[in-house]
Symmetry: C2
Subunit: 209 residues, 2 copies
């Protein structure tokens, strides 16, 4: 039985959905960001980075969404969540997820976590102001080139889909004009039609716009 440490509205939802898709045995454990529980000594003993998600497995704790998603796909191959045996196709899956974690999630984080990268309050405000344009730029690339449709990788549902859905759920909060992103919005609707997605959204108490 795995333990998934998560907080509502975070990227932990992507792993949560993947675990549901794989019918993996897991327990979801909320980390209360309101009381800064992610910075408590108890939680830092689980994940020294002080973030979510963290997945406690029978052989140790894993963090970082792209790694967790690939782990779920490889550990539960019968769920068919990634083209595991095809190096190029798997690399395309990882390329997309790596873009989400290193560029898109980072663009979003400048709206709420600017103190990670500057101490000056005016600088933190300046970062906040730019989030709508950086997130728009990222999602224009996704809309126009990266999202093959109907799923991210085309006809086949993969671990890219829960991750796009999760980060895409931040668009309205980041003041991105989603009417310019019809394919991304169609992807969101298609995701919400999946029972595994609805279940993970409900358990994690996440609001999807």
């Amino acid at each position: 039985m795995f333990k998934l440490y998560y907080a509502p509205g975070t990227c932990a939802l992507a792993t949560h959905i993947a675990l549901e898709e794989a019918a993996a045995p897991y327990e979801a454990v909320a980390v209360d960001f309101g009381s800064q529980a992610q910075r408590s000594s108890e939680y830092l003993a689980i994940n020294p980075k002080g973030r979510v998600p963290a997945l406690v497995t029978e052989r140790g704790t894993l963090t970082e969404t792209p790694a967790l998603l690939c782990f779920v796909a490889q550990r539960f191959p019968e769920a068919d969540l990634a083209p595991l045996a095809d190096p190029l196709a798997l690399a395309q899956v990882q390329e997309f997820n790596s873009y989400l974690c290193s560029t898109v999630h980072v663009a979003h984080a400048h709206g709420r976590r600017g103190a990670r990268w500057a101490d000056d309050p005016a600088a933190i405000d300046a970062m906040k102001r730019k989030v709508p344009s950086t997130m728009t730029e990222c999602f224009e690339l996704i809309e126009g080139k990266l999202l093959k449709g109907p799923w991210v990788m085309g006809e086949r549902y993969t671990i890219c889909d829960p991750y796009l859905f999760t980060i895409g759920s931040w668009l309205e909060g980041d003041r991105v004009d989603t009417t310019k992103l019809p394919r991304v919005m169609e992807h969101r609707r298609r995701m919400l039609a999946r029972p595994a997605v609805r279940k993970a959204v409900a358990i994690s108490d996440t609001r999807i716009p």
Copy 2:
């Protein structure tokens, strides 16, 4: 024959080393950042993100370092660059590389690419000032917890090693006190003893401090 698009001093070096370790057939093609060649229409046709690395393969172009490293490991399994068949061990490899791309590389980038996240010159300066402390914090975690030694994953050399070596080569430029990082520095020396590393460093014209 692959084509690796790179620029000196960038994270493309990690993939470059992995290709050398795997004895992969490739040609290295320099992208001249001095003349902003990464923004030319020719290069954007290869990589619409306008960055390096990009690896042109017989079945399409790949980007994003963690994806490229895993691709090289899986495509050339005889080089034994990753624990491909063990989901947890492979996830640990990806977890480390994902941390490098989404947190450590991003911390570094605030010193040179602040304009990605704010328009105000004072904000860009404020980001620059924080780089020594954010990079120090990242590398304290690597030094103290993540780098198992002698290689990142312990006794076995993996695709984590070229990536750590590459990002670690930025420490002095980011004004991090490397005397506090003896294990990371020992890792650098151990890397420089490998012929594949020396060859990729020489071809890519990279200065290692």
